[in-house]
Symmetry: C2
Subunit: 555 residues, 2 copies
């Protein structure tokens, strides 16, 4: 059927800020291909991730569940055996579910051993790979140090670089993410002052084009009626650090194309202890220096520009091969990047730069014609994508498992009876030395954000005060009202919402609401007679056949 989403291409960038797209208003960076997708789809302007950190955010994207529900709350925390994934949901409705790129998922090896799941069986491989069938997996973080590699896996990208003549064990670091300094020495992209150097790799051999080529291979292999409908998760590491770009992207941006830093000295006065601690960590301190920040942003913008160019290459290929007519495309990121704003580097906290992400949904269905090119400002959570995919694939969303809601009504211009009043995000910093610095036990080093269109509230475990921002009067998020006596009622309301959310039914995943309703009052038909004084209280069929009857003496 033409004009129907037979397949789904689920594109994710890593650490791409919501406002570094031209369609989202960046004044200097042009992203015509992301814009092109937005013009033919719907751009969601308030999409929040469930946790502003790769691993936890992705596990929410891949399960449709809050971090508080799936428990993989930080990088390297295994997703426990038994959690249902996107792959489980898509396969249930007859679609394949493929991975091209990165997940940052760690398998629950102990749980798999306990259940006797072999990693090389089909089931074991899927459990190990977050539910995906792997076309390519490369997590894109091949950092190496005295204690070994950060990532225990094997890098097909490093193998590719070796095959192209880039020497050594780890050309990902030594070439693709390093430049050359004035003395012809390697200049690692991990050192921020190297960010404006040219990466020592041919541009087509750098990570983003390499993965795009793999995606095109995937598309060419999964064409037409012979292959099952598929969801393909195309997942890039960029524009995530190391901040260094290949030519020509390394020096496309600079000078007055760098957006001024967004911060205010008022933020540091009476700062919340957790926020204050994050402003003092090395990446925040480094990004607070103008010189570092400008070099980093120059590279960051170059990397995004390269992502956009590669997106154009991919979209052209899809157009030429007819995929734009049968494939839904969803584009997003796992979190943002402070880039020095709010005196911070990296992500982790809940200012818009960190917790809000781009989300564009292109739906080839004719029902979506009425919304093309529009912006939707509904409060969206990243867990909504799983529900959207299931509904787009023609299935019913198993809402006793998937906590997000389908966005298809927004894309197809359908009326909705109700929508959520607030979004939730969480951050578990138990692994951070900041937790130790604040004297917090691992279970107290946790933050919860509750936000609506007006207020953004953050609760900190461990007996600390909360934070509160008025997004209407203070869209800059400079003024923390967490101790303001005039805002006690707002904080109370936010605590009520947080309580309601925390009490939610998140683990009753083996019984759907429909099954529960069907169970009501059925046990009597299986002989469980409760509250019957005598035979007159019980229906005749039960009495005559099951619960004792005149003439059925048993003596």
């Amino acid at each position: 059927m033409p004009g129907r989403a037979r397949n789904i291409l689920f594109i994710m960038y890593d650490q791409l800020r919501f406002d570094y797209l031209s369609c989202a208003g960046h004044p200097f960076l042009e992203t015509p291909n992301m814009d092109r997708l937005a013009e033919t789809g719907v751009r969601f302007s308030r999409c929040y991730v469930q946790s502003p950190i790769c691993g936890a955010s992705r596990m929410s994207f891949y399960t449709g569940r809050y971090a508080h529900s799936h428990g993989a709350q930080w990088n390297g925390f295994p997703l426990k055996v038994g959690e249902l994934t996107l792959g489980d949901h898509m396969r249930r409705i007859g679609m394949d579910c493929w991975l091209v790129g990165r997940t940052h998922m760690r398998a629950d090896a102990e749980g798999m051993r306990r259940l006797g799941l072999e990693p090389d069986s089909i089931v074991g491989a899927r459990v190990s790979e977050c539910g995906f069938d792997v076309f390519v997996r490369d997590d894109g973080l091949w950092a190496h140090g005295p204690d070994g590699y950060y990532d225990d896996g094997r890098s097909p990208y490093n193998a590719y670089l070796n095959s192209k003549g880039y020497a050594g064990e780890n050309p990902w670091h030594d070439y693709a993410n390093a430049g050359i300094d004035e003395d012809s020495n390697m200049a690692s992209g991990f050192l921020l002052m190297n960010a404006d150097r040219e990466a020592n790799v041919e541009e087509p051999d750098s990570e983003t084009p390499w993965l795009t080529s793999r995606a095109i291979e995937f598309l060419d292999k999964h064409v037409g009626g012979t292959s099952k409908p598929w969801l393909c998760h195309l997942s890039y590491i960029k524009p995530h650090w190391p901040y260094i770009a290949p030519a020509p992207y390394h020096d496309m941006y600079g000078g007055n194309q760098i957006v001024p830093v967004h911060r205010n000295h008022a933020e540091l006065e009476n700062a919340h202890p957790v926020y204050a601690a994050f402003t003092r960590n090395p990446i925040s301190k480094a990004l607070s220096q103008k010189e570092v920040r400008e070099r980093v942003i120059s590279a960051y913008m170059g990397l995004i520009k390269q992502c956009d160019d590669q997106l154009g290459r991919l979209l052209d290929h899809m157009e030429a091969s007819g995929r734009m007519e049968d494939t839904m495309i969803v584009l997003t990121s796992d979190h943002g990047d402070y880039l020095g704003d709010h005196w911070l580097g990296e992500k982790n906290l809940f200012h818009e730069a960190s917790v809000k992400v781009p989300l564009i949904i292109y739906d080839p269905d004719r029902e979506a014609d009425s919304t093309r090119g529009s912006i939707c400002d509904a409060l969206v959570e990243s867990i909504d994508t799983v529900a959207t995919f299931v509904e787009a694939g023609g299935g019913a969303v198993p809402d006793h498992i998937v906590e997000g809601r389908s966005l298809l009504p927004f894309v197809r211009g359908k009326a909705l009876d109700s929508w959520r009043d607030y979004v939730i995000s969480e951050y578990d910093y138990s692994v951070s030395p900041i937790a130790a610095g604040l004297g917090l036990s691992p279970r107290d080093a946790r933050l919860f954000m509750v936000a609506d269109k007006r207020w953004k509230f953050v609760h900190a475990e461990g007996g600390m005060r909360s934070m509160l921002f008025d997004l209407e009067t203070d869209p800059d998020e400079f003024v923390d009202l967490g101790e303001c006596p005039h805002h006690a009622k707002v904080r109370d309301m936010m605590y009520e919402r947080l309580g309601q959310w925390a009490r939610r039914m998140s683990q009753r995943t083996t019984r759907s609401d429909d099954e529960i309703e069907a169970m009501r009052g059925k046990s009597e038909r299986r002989g469980i007679v409760l509250g019957a004084r005598d035979a007159t209280d019980v229906e005749q069929e039960l009495i005559s056949k099951y619960v004792g009857s005149p003439g059925r003496g048993a003596g």
Copy 2:
């Protein structure tokens, strides 16, 4: 080593009220064997179950986790694949974990299929059996009706009865749980007016002696140094309904030995909608009739007396065989029984009769000598038993998975730095027609209790008001202060506690606190250098070998 708990016998009755033991103050019922255990152990006077319903309560006993954490919130809701059980924890520390009797556990067949777990493999059998190795499983509810049996399993007890000459497909119902009426017809124990009849079974063939014999067989087979240390869960269906007892227990109690009904008309005035609905269900209406109540309680007391006699038989056997010196004995129940109190029958709500259970811990260790015969009034939850068993077995409690705390310090007279300030219980009545009657969706038909030694608070989802009882001024729990304007602060405090509990870290089960603390600051040693401006910010070893160095040109 003499006087050390090598084994653990974990005895559970079903629906045994906390106050139907003579050691707990029952004025007419003598339970000398339960008392004997209490005299040599510690009796906990404030043990609350995690949910006053068989299935959910037991899944908390068997996982050490709140119902909100494990999700099996009602009878017949499968315990999801992946949840760790008592068996997993005991086997990890080198102990076997056996079942003799009932669990009311339903396997997650869909989850097992998804993971390819065969029910007849060792792993699959354990996952199907709530982590236990099965010596005997008989859930004791072989009700049968037009839609089939309530329980899909097979009853070894029915097989036993057949072998003893009790005829038919379901002698559990037709003989063990039925009497004979005046016309020599079967008189089902499900009909409450039959409760004072003599069950049509020889006493030694009735359920409690039959299971006790199986337990003695177990003990005889697992003796001494040749068998591994074990935990054996001996789990009786009685004194759970059908309320009917074999001679001589059927007419041991009656008349003025029945404790007067504990209720007050004030309870029905301005009653909370959920409470009011439960008072109107058939079992509550039936138990509100004096004649029904007295017959039921007569049988209930007889069944408990039989349980006590069989406990005596078991303890005598253990004494004679030396098991009292090497075996910890824990005796409890999965919930209570209203028996007409508070205008209610069955369990389900949170008055003491329903949510509080007996808990006695006998520890042969000499360290426990100082506490023998004492009563501990600390706030205890049923999930504490798993933690107690692990510690008694010599292991460390995996407190990122098990949410309860070991009670061993109370039993061995050790000082504790802190203990919990409140207990939690939950009730999910989504399957009840009451939910439909109140117009509630399945996810809103939930109650949460928060109780300390002074206050008992109940939050109801679905937009209803809360309930509150002052246990100090109103130990009868007759006066619901849920709307009292003078108690708004107490309700606020309870909501704060409920929020704290609901936000708890319950799903981060793949990383222990120790592992998390060990992870802190370790990623740099794997090459993840964050926030380094240049080489001077990075330790020499990293720079010289991994993150680029003078002399390591890569051009």
